[in-house]
């Protein structure tokens, strides 16, 4: 059995009008594996990850409806009571967010923020927690950890801040790590270092990782399997090699064509997907990607395409290649 099994996850925000941000998403994460959730901004990646750990704003109130199930080691996270969830967060499942600056408390020293996770879950004293915090900072590659412990977030560079957040996330050796665009806010050179660090940490600890990104380039170097999301639904799902070798859904192909490549011929142009995520159709009317799709045919608008295939699944009636 997989470590995490997400089945038909749906999230609806009841505001002035209802927004179905996540719509029947299913995927599984095996212990120690890295699974990518990929898609343009606004496709529901963050909502998916927050729903899993019960942290959507107003989750469990009338304003947000979450359906489906998410079994973590047999326990349905979406129906677990608050206390259970609070014990799981940080110890079994930890999360890393996109913006390291705003994710750290500006008026609390780094060391205190790392130590409090250890104190909370390991029940150790302040002194011991401080010692281990220094080890953790050292482990995530922060030089001079003793001194850094006493510093405030604004005294660290962006990359160092993200390392500190990663240290907090791996402090209790969780079984599952969720990283929501952990490199998006960083410089390109730092991005690669942070990805390398994450890769190393999950390998050493045997931690499973859900890697959320809009960048297929990140996925290529890191993930075992990939789920491509569009407008709240999985449109293609496959192992990494399979996906890159036989991209099937026109949206996936579009994403691949818009990655800058080192081996590209000079002068060869990137071909971004035309239109924007705002040009979506409601899934009930047909394929949500149709307004931007070059391969759209009449059948695309007769109803929502279903997800076909088992090991390599895709949601398209006129795919590029049939795997």
């Amino acid at each position: 059995m997989a470590l995490l099994e997400v089945e038909d996850l749906g999230v609806t925000f009841h505001a002035d009008r209802d927004v179905r941000a996540v719509d029947g998403v299913s995927f599984a994460v095996d212990a120690g594996k890295v699974v990518g959730l990929v898609g343009e901004s606004g496709c529901g990646k963050s909502v998916t990850s927050l729903a899993l750990i019960g942290l959507l704003p107003n989750q469990n109130t009338k304003r947000v409806r979450v359906d489906g199930s998410a079994k973590f080691d047999g326990l349905d996270l979406l129906r677990a009571d608050r206390r259970t969830l609070r014990d799981i967060r940080g110890r079994e499942i930890a999360m890393i967010f996109q913006d390291p600056l705003s994710s750290l408390n500006p008026v609390v020293p780094i060391g205190v923020q790392v130590a409090e996770v250890l104190i909370r879950h390991r029940g150790i004293g302040k002194h011991e927690a401080e010692r281990r915090s220094a080890e953790l900072l050292d482990r995530v590659g922060i030089p001079d950890p003793r001194r850094r412990l006493k510093e405030y977030p604004h005294q660290l560079s962006g990359g160092m801040r993200q390392r500190a957040l990663i240290a907090m996330a791996v402090a209790c050796r969780p079984r599952l790590l969720i990283a929501d665009e952990p490199t998006t806010a960083l410089d390109v050179t730092i991005q690669a270092q942070i990805l390398e660090l994450l890769k190393e940490l999950v390998r050493e600890d045997g931690t499973a990782l859900i890697m959320i990104t809009h960048d297929l380039g990140v996925v290529a170097g890191l993930c075992d399997s990939v789920n491509v999301l569009y407008a709240g639904r999985v449109v293609e799902s496959a192992g990494r090699h399979e996906l890159f070798a036989h991209p099937t859904h026109p949206y996936t192909v579009g994403l691949l064509n818009s990655i800058p490549r080192l081996d590209a011929l000079r002068g060869e142009e990137l071909t971004p997907i035309r239109g924007s995520v705002r040009d979506v159709l409601a899934w009930s009317a047909g394929c949500a990607f149709a307004p931007r799709c070059d391969r759209a045919i009449e059948t695309c608008l007769t109803g929502p395409p279903s997800l076909e295939g088992t090991n390599h699944s895709f949601r398209c009636v006129n795919p590029e290649v049939v795997p």
């Binding site: 999360m95 994710s103 500006p106 409090e116 977030p153 604004h154 962006g158």
Partner: protein, 348 residues
């Protein structure tokens, strides 16, 4: 100051002198609604906690305050005042209670000797050295202001912190606690502050402690509403989500994370409140609710005593009045500059 600085009420109907009065005393003279709006705006600022360069709000605000001449003047005035209050009493030429020159005062003939080389500010109606009394009075005034503000700060922050934490911890029980506290707080806030202070003082009987408590009580709702609003604004911050995602307990998040980030607006308000506290303490003393003990000179009491002899020696009203005005002015200058430094909307 930019027009933004005025609350909508003040900006529309009010005439210029009234506006000036609003500014010089923080919240005084504002309608309850305008008072609330102003407090809530200050509270919101807690949420703006870092700029693009990642400097903390505090560092950034401090840098801006230092560049503001009004703030520097305010700070210098305050520094001088505090110095006078602390070391002045050791340096004064005469004892403030000594009536050694009483024979020079002839009230029946309307003679109270004025400034001379021995008595820089002259004598008062009891033949005491006025200069020494003004200097020693500064200590009383500072004491009343600081104790009253601290009292209001303490009780107000307890109430506001409790309401804010209850709200942040959520759940129906939390909302109920928050609602109950805030209903009382808003009621107090709606009352005219001097009326509230006079009622409290009348209940307790005239004494220095009475003035401190009465003046403290009227700032309680101000601090309570401010801290609560500030904590709720902070509650939506991303670091709260991030800490929650790591399982940090809600109580710890409220006290260890949200509270320290919510204090900047409270600090600003405390500076402004010191100004009003000094004025209000003087007003209560003036109304006869202050310390009746003549051995301890206090500017408000001195002002009352002087007023009955206004025709004989008008200068005796001027010294304590100028003292009160300058001090309140210093606190207001600094407080307003700090508020401006925190509020991006008020920056020039």
């Amino acid at each position: 100051m930019t027009p933004d600085n005025l609350t909508p009420e003040a900006a529309s109907g009010a005439t210029a002198p009234e506006q000036r009065q609003d500014e010089s005393s923080g919240l005084k003279g504002l309608t309850p609604k305008a008072k609330k709006q102003r407090l809530d705006r200050l509270a919101e600022l807690a949420a703006v906690h870092a700029d693009e360069k990642g400097r903390s709000l505090w560092a950034e605000a401090f840098r801006r305050v230092r560049k503001n001449p009004a703030a520097v003047i305010g700070a210098i005035v305050l520094l001088l005042f505090v110095l006078v209050a602390i070391i002045g009493p050791f340096l004064v030429p005469y004892s403030p209670t000594s009536t050694a020159w009483a024979d020079q005062v002839k009230e029946g003939q309307n003679i109270i000797p004025g400034p001379s080389s021995e008595h820089w500010f002259g004598l008062d109606h009891n033949g005491r050295d006025e200069f020494s009394r003004v200097i020693v009075g500064a200590r009383q005034t500072l004491l009343v202001g600081v104790v009253a503000t601290s009292l209001g700060l303490l009780v107000g922050c307890l109430l506001g912190g409790l309401a804010g934490s209850a709200y942040a911890l959520g759940g129906r029980r939390g909302r109920q606690v928050d609602n109950a506290i805030m209903r009382v707080v808003d009621m107090l806030l709606a009352m005219p502050s001097l009326l509230l202070a006079v009622s409290v003082a009348a209940l307790l009987g005239p004494s220095l402690i009475t003035v401190m408590i009465a003046v403290g009580v009227i700032s309680v709702p101000v601090f309570a509403r401010l801290l609560r609003g500030s904590m709720i604004a902070q509650g939506h911050a991303e670091y709260v989500t991030a800490a929650t995602a790591l399982g940090v307990r809600r109580g710890r998040i409220a006290l260890g994370h949200v509270l320290p980030n919510s204090l900047a607006p409270v600090l600003v308000q405390a500076t402004l409140t010191l100004a009003t506290a000094i004025i209000e303490a003087a007003a209560l003393s003036f109304l006869g609710l202050g310390n009746p003990d003549p051995a301890v000179p206090e500017w408000g009491v001195m002002l009352t005593d002087a007023l009955t002899r206004l025709e004989v020696a008008p200068r005796l009203t001027i010294y304590p009045a100028v003292g009160i005005i300058i001090t309140a002015f210093g606190f207001t200058l600094l407080g307003e500059a700090m508020r401006e430094a925190l509020d991006p909307k008020l920056r020039k």
